[in-house]
């Protein structure tokens, strides 16, 4: 779990899909319809002529280029920066601070490792659980708190109900220690260790 803006991802992908479909449909139309193709070339040539007029009208004094060309360059660089931001926003929102409290005497902060160790310690002796890992992320919305994701690798054939109950006890213990209920997401998964470790033959 993280703060990836999934709605934004899907909106931008949808926009790109629509642009691609539009461009492709235009090309198909131009290939199959001669009148449309001629119309395209006529409109395109006119537009290019008008662009060249505009370029000539806004010449930078003492140079061979136009202000418009510079503006286009700046626009391209802005788009590039926005694209880099989009890429960098994937998978963000992780935090390693659970809670922070500030008063007159100073501030107290609780590290996410505290929760991780509570959970891992209480599941370590469970034979149905092969390994546990804990991640934390900043929850969006009014609360602005921290969420915990507990990833449990179950032994092959382990009952998800039993594993869930064990994780529930661990979370109850953590709630009591921390004095608050953090939002928790539990994922019970199989992995390479599940595939290679023995299954519990005595059910």
């Amino acid at each position: 779990m993280n703060g990836t803006h999934r709605g934004l991802n899907r909106t931008l992908l949808a926009l790109m899909g629509l642009v691609l479909i539009g461009a492709g449909a235009t090309a198909v139309l131009a290939g199959s319809n001669t009148a449309f193709a001629r119309n395209w070339t006529a409109t395109g040539t006119q537009a290019w002529a008008r662009i060249q007029e505009n370029l000539a009208a806004a010449r930078i004094p003492g140079m061979d280029t136009s202000w418009w060309t510079l503006a286009a360059l700046v626009l391209l660089l802005l788009i590039a920066i926005m694209l880099v931001t989009w890429i960098a926003s994937q998978g963000t929102g992780r935090t390693n601070q659970l809670a922070e409290q500030t008063d007159a005497k100073g501030s107290t902060s609780v590290d996410a490792a505290v929760a991780a160790q509570i959970i891992e310690a209480s599941l370590a002796r469970n034979t149905q659980v092969l390994s546990t890992s804990v991640q934390s992320w900043k929850t969006r919305g009014s609360a602005g708190g921290t969420g915990l994701k507990i990833i449990v690798q179950a032994r092959k054939g382990a009952s998800p109900a039993e594993v869930g109950t064990a994780v529930g006890h661990a979370v109850d213990g953590m709630d009591e220690l921390l004095g608050t209920q953090l939002p928790v997401l539990v994922r019970i998964k199989a992995g390479t260790r599940t595939r290679f470790a023995r299954s519990e033959r005595v059910a």
Binding site: M1, G17, A23, T69, W86, G157, T180, L185, A190
Partner: protein, 198 residues
């Protein structure tokens, strides 16, 4: 314990939903990287033409002229083929944006936290239950967990029969104890090829 601040059901639902659906992060990165390459190439060509250097592939002027007369300057068949490929790519990208992208995971009902179980974990647990009920070796039972149902295939030892109903009962009882949000009907079948010597 009244001082505890409970997790809102809405937040639990949101966490569950996010965990079983794809974020489309990989495709977004790919799309952004392709666009970024195109934009940077355009910018480089623009700078090269501004400084009077020769172009890498096409100068901006050539590119603009080419686009303006593309309709008549290209062989119609090639134009249609290229257009068709673009449309197909567009449909694929649009599909990625619209479809939920369900992962093979299942939501477990719980009030305190969100729980998501991999289909693989469910299948292994179902196999274990089935083989315990029918007293078989691990290799004699294979299970697959789909989005809406569970299939169990039992390979009885040669010369013996397996009571499908009792296996089905055992598996159904086990699965109902998991508290899955989506009810999953169980289907048990036996194969004709029986296991020899097990």
């Amino acid at each position: 314990m009244s001082s505890l601040q409970a997790t809102e059901p809405r937040l639990i639902m949101r966490m569950n939903r996010r965990e079983i659906r794809s974020s489309r992060a990989g495709w977004s990165i790919l799309a952004a990287a392709v666009l970024l390459l195109a934009v940077l190439w355009l910018a480089v060509e623009l700078v090269l033409s501004l400084t009077g250097n020769s172009a890498l592939l096409l100068s901006p002027t050539e590119l603009a002229l080419g686009t303006a007369s593309l309709g008549t300057a290209t062989i119609p068949a090639a134009l249609m083929a290229a257009g068709g490929i673009l449309v197909l790519a567009g449909i694929a990208v649009l599909t990625l944006a619209i479809l939920p992208g369900r992962k093979p995971r299942h939501i477990v009902d719980n009030d305190r936290f969100a729980v998501v179980v991999d289909g693989e974990v469910l299948a292994a647990a179902v196999s274990r239950t089935a083989r315990t009920a029918a007293q078989l070796a691990p290799e004699q039972v294979t299970s697959s967990v789909g989005r809406k149902r569970i299939d169990v295939v039992v390979r009885p030892s040669s010369g013996r029969t397996v009571d499908k109903e009792s296996v089905k009962d055992a598996v159904e009882r086990e699965v109902s104890s998991y508290g899955l949000r989506q009810p999953m009907p169980v289907n048990v079948s036996t194969t004709m090829h029986q296991a020899v010597g097990s």
